[in-house]
Amino acid sequence: MKPLLDVQDLRVAFGDKEVVHGISFQIAQGEKLALVGESGSGKTISALALLRLVEGGTLGGSVHLSGPTPSTGDRNLLSFPERDMRAIRGQDIAMIFQEPMTALNPLITVGRQIAEVLQLKKGLTRAEAAQESVRLLAQTGIPEPERRAQAYPYQLSGGQRQRAMIAMALACSPRLLLADEPTTALDVTLRGQILDLLDDLRQQNGMAVLMITHDLNLVRRFADRVIVMENGHIVEQGPVAEVFAHPQHAYTKKLIDSRPVRDVVEQPVNPSQATPMLQAQGLRVGYPVPLGGVKGWFRKGEFVAVQGADFTLPPGQTLGVVGESGSGKSTLALAALGLLPHGGTLRVLGQGWAGNSLQNTPANQALRRVVQVVFQDPFSSLSPRLTVEEIVGEGLKVHQPGLTTAQRREQVLAALAEVGLTEAQFPGLLERYPHAFSGGQRQRLAIARALIVQPQVLVLDEPTSALDVTIQKQVLVLLQRLQRDKGLAYLLITHDVDVIRAMAHQVLVMKDGTIVEAGPVHQVLDAPQHPYTQRLLAATLA
C-alpha cells in the first residue's frame, strides 16, 4: 500500500547551519509512529518542517503526501505554494503541542476557537460550527461539553485543555496528526488517559499519528513503529518491539539503558539512634490569598498548601516525596529550607528555624549551612550574569567571609571537581558564564554551589525532570555517589516513580497538601495501600 506520507532526504538549515541532515521515513495510513530523541536532536523541527512551519529555516528534500483518494497523485508539500499549504494544514495534517496553555488563545472561549477552524476550513455557518465544536469536545471525553465550550482556557484543567487542543486538531478529520510531546506537561495519571484518547480517535477517524516524544515508556505503550533521532540524523527505525528488544545502534542502546539504577547504601546508620536530619510534626504551610468581595478589603484568605505533615529524615538516607503538580511537595521543600513561614514543628538536626525563618539570624545561618537545595530547572537556577566562580563561591562568602580569594578559589575548584567539572575539560572554567554549559552541566554547577558549604541535607526539588534521559541517569549516579561518599541525606521531591525507585529509602505520597501514604520504598511501591498511590503507580507502569 502506498504510504500516507513519504519523506525523502528532508533537510532543515538555519542560515548555513544545518540541523536536520537528510532524514527519510514513511508513515502508513492509520499508523502510530513515534519519533524519539533528546532535546536538540531535531525531532520537533522535523515535524514542523512537514507543515513548512519552520520560521527562518530553509528546507530541502521532498515530503510527498498521498492524495485524498487513491486516484489522485502524490504532492510534494515542499514545493507547494504557501496558499495551498495553508489548506493542507489542519485539513490533511494537524498538530497538537506540548503546552496547551500557550497553544490556546487565552482571550477566546475554547468552543469559539474550535468553531473558528470549522468555519474557516469547512465553511460551516456560525451556528453549525458551534454545534459541531460541542460534539468534538464531547468526543474527547470532556465532561459537560456544552458548558466547557463556553469556558476560557484558564478555566480548564491541564488535561481538559489538552483535550480541547485535540478536539481543535481533529475538527477537520485530518489524515495525519502530529503530536509534539502531547503529555509532557500533564500529570502522570492524566498521561495514560490522553494516550488512550488519541488511540481511540485514531481508530474512529482512521488517521495516522506521529508522536514526538523523549519518553520511552510512552513509545512502548503507544506506538507501532519508532524512529530514533540523534543530532539531526535518524539512527534507527523499526517496529517498537523489535527496536526495544534488539537495539542496533549504540545510541538507541544508550537511550533504552538510561532507566535509573538503584545503587545506594540501604542501611547507612541505625535510624533509631542517630539524630534525625529533618523532623517534622504537624507541619503546616499556608499562603495568603486575596478574598473576593468587600471582605477582601480588610483581610486575606489562606490557601493551605501543606497540612499535618509528619516525617523524619535520618542521616545518609533519602526521603522521596511523590505527588502530582499542586500536591504541595515543592512547598514542603521550601519550608524545609526555611524559606516559608510554617506552623507545627520542623527541626533540622534537632533545632527549629528561629523566629521568622526568613531572617538571617546567626542561628538560622547555621541551619542554612546544614540544609542546601538543588532546583529543577538548571536554566533559571543559575544567574546568567555571574561567572561560575561567583556562583559556586557565593556560599563561602556568606559562611566563611574570612577566606582569601585564593583559598576560596581552591575550595570552588574542589567542589567543582567533586561534581565532575574540571579545568582540563573546560578551559577557563571559573570565568565561564552558565550559558556556556549544557543542561546536565548546569545541574552539576547547581549541585556544586550547594555542596561548597558542606551541608548534611540536600533538598532536591525535581533535580532531573528538566534533563534528557541519558543526562538524567548521569546526574542520579552523581547524587548516589555523593550520598555514599559524604553520607548526605536527601529530601527528594519528584513526580517520577522511576527516580524514587532508584534513590529513595523512605517514601511520602502527597495529594492535595496531605500525606496519604508513607513508608519504606519497597512497601509503598510494591504494595501500595492508598487508592491514589495505586493509581499513580498504575499510570507510571503502564
Binding site: 521550601l334 529550607l337 544567574s383 559562611h399 570565568e431 558564564y433
Partner: protein
C-alpha cells in the same frame, strides 16, 4: 580551542558585540560621541578671543587671561575686544600673529563692528548668520548643543538612579511596601508638572540646577515601573531562592543577583530618555521657562526663529541640529534594544 574563547564572554560583552554588528546604531554612537567631544572642546572651536597671540615679541594667551586694550596699543584699560578692526589691524602687523578659533565668536559675543543689521543672513563673517541680537548662530548652536547634551545626561543619570532604586525596593519587597509606593507614585504622577515649573520659575531665580532638580523629581516614575516589574519577576526565580537558601542577605541578593538581570529595560531606555530630556529642555526654553536668559539654548533659538520668521537661517539650522541629535539617539536606542533582545540568537 576557539569555542571556549567565545563561550566565556559575559552576557553584556555579547550584547555589545551584537550592538556593534548593527552598523547604523554603531555609527550613530560614534557620530554622537564625536559631536559631544567636539562640543566639550567648544572653547577651542568657537571663541571670540584668539587662542594664542604673538605681539611685539611676547606671547599672550587671551583664552585664559584678560588683557586690557592698552596691551595691544589701544586707548582704554577695558578688556580687549578682538573683533575691533583696530586691534585686528595691530595683530596683523609684520612680526605679530594670532591663532584664532575656527569660528571667531563666543556664545555671547556681540559683534559691534558687524557689517549687516541683525539678524544677518549667513555670510563669510558669520557662517550661519546671526540671531536677532547679533550673536553668531554657529557659536550659539555649538554651545547650545553642549548645554542640552550635558543637561540631558545629568537628567538621565539622576532619573535612572532614582527609578532603579525605587523600582528595586518596590519589586523586591513587594506586599505593603509595593502598595504604598505605588499609591505614592500615582499621587505624585498626577501633579501638574508644567504648572509647578511655572510657579517655581516665578518664585526662584531660574537656573540650570533648579531645572534639573524639578525635572528629576518627575522623571523617574516611568522607569521605576519597569524595574519594579523586572524585580517582581526575577525575585522568584530559582537562583534567587538558592541564594536565600545559602543565607545571602537582601541587599546582596538585590545587588548581585537581581539587579544585573533587571537592567535590560534600563539600558534600552537610556538613549530614548536622553532624547526626551533634550526635547524637554528645548520645549521649556522655547516657552521661556527654562535656562536663565543669556544661556545658549536650542529652545531659545527656536523661539527667536518663530519671532523672526523671515530669518530662515535661525529656525532652519536649529531645527537641523535638533533633528540630527534626536535621530542619532533614536538609532542608538533601536540598536541597543535589538542587542539586548533575549530572543535574538547570538549567531
Amino acid at each position: 580551542m576557539k569555542p571556549a574563547a567565545t563561550a566565556s564572554l559575559s552576557p553584556s560583552r555579547r550584547a555589545w558585540q551584537r550592538f556593534k554588528r548593527n552598523r547604523l546604531g554603531f555609527w550613530s554612537l560614534v557620530a554622537f560621541s564625536v559631536l559631544v567631544l567636539l562640543s566639550l572642546a567648544a572653547e577651542l572651536l568657537s571663541n571670540e578671543k584668539p587662542l594664542l597671540v604673538h605681539y611685539e615679541g611676547a606671547i599672550y594667551t587671551p583664552m585664559w587671561k584678560d588683557y586690557p586694550e592698552t596691551t595691544f596699543g589701544g586707548d582704554f584699560l577695558t578688556p580687549t575686544d578682538y573683533l575691533d578692526p583696530f586691534i585686528q589691524e595691530r595683530l596683523a602687523r609684520p612680526g605679530n600673529w594670532a591663532v584664532h578659533a575656527p569660528n571667531p565668536y563666543g556664545p555671547k559675543t556681540l559683534n559691534y563692528f558687524a557689517k549687516a543689521p541683525n539678524p544677518s543672513a549667513p555670510s563669510r563673517d558669520n557662517w550661519l548668520g546671526t540671531d536677532d541680537r547679533g550673536r553668531d548662530l554657529l557659536a550659539q548652536l555649538i554651545y547650545g548643543f553642549r548645554v542640552s547634551v550635558l543637561f540631558a545626561l545629568a537628567l538621565t543619570i539622576t532619573g535612572t538612579l532614582l527609578g532603579v532604586v525605587t523600582g528595586a525596593i518596590q519589586g523586591y519587597f513587594g506586599g505593603k511596601t509595593d502598595l504604598a509606593f505605588q499609591r505614592f507614585i500615582e499621587i505624585w504622577g498626577s501633579m501638574p508638572e508644567l504648572y509647578l515649573l511655572i510657579i517655581f520659575s516665578a518664585v526662584f531665580a531660574p537656573s540650570v540646577a533648579l531645572l534639573l532638580v524639578l525635572l528629576s523629581l518627575f522623571g523617574w516614575m516611568g522607569l521605576s515601573d519597569y524595574v519594579r516589574a523586572e524585580f517582581l519577576r526575577n525575585r522568584q526565580l530559582d537562583y534567587v531562592k538558592a541564594a536565600r537558601a545559602l543565607g545571602v542577605g537582601n541587599v546582596q541578593i538585590m545587588w548581585r543577583h537581581i539587579l544585573p538581570n533587571s537592567l535590560t529595560p534600563v539600558v534600552t531606555f537610556l538613549p530614548f530618555r536622553m532624547s526626551a530630556a533634550i526635547l524637554a529642555l528645548t520645549s521649556l526654553d522655547f516657552l521661556g521657562l527654562g535656562v536663565p536668559p543669556g544661556t545658549p539654548s536650542l529652545g531659545e533659538l527656536l523661539a527667536q526663529g518663530k519671532n523672526n520668521i523671515d530669518a530662515w537661517w535661525i529656525s532652519l539650522s536649529t531645527f537641523a541640529v535638533l533633528v540630527v541629535t534626536l535621530l542619532l539617539l533614536t538609532f542608538m536606542g533601536d540598536a541597543l534594544r535589538d542587542a539586548l533582545d533575549p530572543r535574538k540568537a547570538d549567531a
